[in-house]
């Protein structure tokens, strides 16, 4: 294993992108993801890459669209209000089937909200966000090491499926300092991009990148193609981490920062004689529905506790997957507040006693 270095989550995202071969970054400043931008501003020149501080998030995502059209690996990063502005571009990227990685280090909303951690953009990220029938791959790392590995992987996934892969973190993950071990050399996927608009240079036909299909049959056919791709991703790309499920009575559903808090709670519950397990989705879309369904069938499991930094968004997917087989309870905090271990433990005790 390579030597470990202490780094901030946001900086690791930027470093991972460069290691994955991304040489183009377009962004607009916003807390709490600004370190991604600072790192890129500093490092991109050293790698002969592009750094553009765009005039807005709208412009930044459209620069991403243009860069992706040329077949280059490209990154933009922002936080909630900025990601709202990027939705137009993200929808066009989905329609034109371009590969791009978009980072959202979420903060509290709605509106200008606050600058502290939140998971309030789960719906926006996983259900589409912009207009039209489309999906983004959504990945939720829970540590700085994972931020590194999953950012590298995001570029592969984006290239493979020609779509946006979104890293969905929250302010805590972005701001956190943790040791990270980088590989000597990244093994990234080499995907041929014969569709890219690179200038023809002797190519027989001109390439065109577009998301408009005026004929309804053409547009429906395009949508069917997209849906087929999404079904394939649901089959092949689900990632999750299940822990402590043997004989578990209560199973926590949590991702990102919340899953870290819950890990400690599991230990404390064990001391009280309550067996608690956890399913941590790593891909939020595709969602690990099969795993939740399987766990819901386990006779030992009495119920689920979904913990989020929101009013309850992922819980809808958990409930769909559990499909009424077991009760799914909720604990959430908003506005940039984090749940304490005690709060969560109290919920677990209540569920265990049948007081919920």
């Amino acid at each position: 294993m390579a030597k470990r270095v202490l780094m901030k989550g946001n900086e690791v995202i930027a470093e991972a992108a460069i290691r994955a071969g991304c040489r183009h970054y377009f962004g607009y400043p916003i807390t709490p993801q600004t370190e991604v931008m600072h790192y890129m501003a500093r490092e991109m020149v050293k790698h002969g890459g592009t750094f553009v501080q765009a005039e807005s998030e709208v412009a930044a995502i459209n620069m991403v669209y243009g860069a992706a059209a040329t077949g280059e690996r490209v990154l933009t990063s922002s936080s909630s209000p900025g990601i709202s502005l990027k939705q137009e571009g993200i929808s066009y990227i989905a329609g034109a089937e371009l590969p791009a990685v978009v980072v959202n280090i979420m903060r509290g909303g709605p509106g200008l909200g606050g600058i502290l951690p939140s998971q309030g953009d789960y719906f926006q990220a996983t259900k589409g966000g912009g207009h039209g029938d489309y999906k983004n791959l959504v990945i939720a790392p829970a540590s700085v090491q994972e931020l590194y590995e999953l950012t590298v992987k995001s570029f592969d996934l984006a290239d493979k499926y020609r779509m946006v892969c979104m890293i969905l973190g929250d302010g805590t993950i972005g701001q956190m300092m943790e040791p990270v071990a980088f590989k000597e050399k990244e093994e990234t996927l080499e995907v041929a991009k014969p569709w890219a608009t690179t200038g023809m240079h002797g190519r027989e036909k001109h390439n065109t990148i577009t998301s408009i299909y005026i004929d309804p049959d053409d547009l429906e056919a395009k949508n069917r193609e997209l849906q087929d791709k999404y079904r394939e991703i649901e089959e092949k790309e689900v990632m999750f981490e299940s822990s402590n499920l043997d004989d578990a009575e209560i199973v926590i559903a949590a991702y990102g920062t919340c899953s870290r808090i819950c890990k400690n709670v599991i230990r404390q519950a064990a001391e009280l004689g309550i067996k608690v397990g956890m399913v941590r989705p790593i891909t939020l879309w595709p969602f690990p529905s099969k795993e939740f369904s399987r766990v819901a069938d386990m006779p030992s499991v009495k119920g689920f506790l979904d913990v989020e930094l929101s009013s309850g968004q992922m819980i809808e997917d958990v409930r769909l997957a559990v499909n009424g087989k077991k009760p799914v309870y909720f604990h959430g905090r908003m506005g940039g507040n984090l749940p304490t271990q005690k709060e969560i433990l109290d919920e677990i005790v209540k569920i265990h006693k049948g007081e919920m």
Partner: protein, 248 residues
């Protein structure tokens, strides 16, 4: 038999869908001819915008990217930064460039992006059936200024060329018209100059074309041309607004 006229290789064989008397077709042909004459079809990436010309990616024979409404200069920035050796142009209407896309065009010009913008000012939103554009003249009747554009409630026309010419990053800005053979030849020269500015890496270049929309102006093609000459030119004078002394 000797060939006396041939369609330029800069265009595909797909027939244009534009209305009779519309100047988009002429402007397309001029850009295409310049690309052919400069031998850059193979190394050009064009950006189509949103308006009547949304699908001109089917007409230009070079590589083409379709952009969201107003965002073509940002898309072109992304392309050019990745492919600095290629020639990159945007083709935008006045609704696209001067209304929804003002931020993108101003900042592309301010950054001195090495791209060419071909800006078609027909004083209305053509595609969506003749609404008022930022370039609509005072008094001009449109579907959203049915009593004529009044400054009190609808403000004043924007002179984009003059405005962008104030930016250091914009190195060549010219407004041209297509009234007759002479003007058309001048317009073609301006297109070629814009591409040469880009070839030399000097900065942002834009050619604004005064154009017609007979369909939404409710005029016959010839009448529309006259109206353009008589009404538009006083508001939008022809000429070079930046780079008068530029030798390229």
């Amino acid at each position: 038999m000797a060939v006396v006229f041939q369609k330029t290789k800069g265009l595909t064989d797909k027939p244009f869908h534009y209305c009779p008397g519309c100047m988009h077709g002429i402007i397309h042909r001029l850009i295409a001819e310049v690309m052919e004459e400069m031998d850059i079809i193979d190394k050009t990436i064009g950006v189509a915008s949103v308006g009547c010309t949304y699908n001109n990616y089917d007409y230009f024979s070079c590589d083409m990217v379709q952009a969201a409404h107003g965002r073509a200069p940002a898309v072109a920035t992304g392309i050019k930064r990745c492919k600095p050796e290629e020639m990159v142009f945007t083709y935008q209407g006045d609704g696209d460039l001067a209304s929804i896309g003002t931020a993108e065009i101003v900042h592309a010009a301010a950054r001195g992006e090495k791209i060419c913008t071909f800006f078609v000012n027909n004083a209305v939103y053509g595609m969506t059936s003749g609404q008022m554009a930022p370039t609509t003249l005072l008094g001009q009747v449109t579907t959203t200024s049915p009593l004529g554009r009044d400054a009190e409630t609808r403000g004043y026309p924007i002179n984009v060329s003059e405005m962008l010419a104030t930016l250091t990053g914009a190195v060549y800005i010219e407004r041209v018209a297509l009234f007759d053979y002479k003007h058309i030849q001048e317009a073609k020269k301006a297109i070629a100059k814009a591409f040469r500015v880009q070839q030399k890496g000097l900065g942002f270049a834009m050619v604004e074309f005064l154009s017609t929309c007979p369909t939404n102006w409710g005029k016959e093609p010839i009448e529309a041309l006259e109206w353009c000459k008589e009404k538009m030119v006083p508001q939008y004078p022809l000429g070079v607004f930046k780079g008068q002394d530029l030798e390229v």
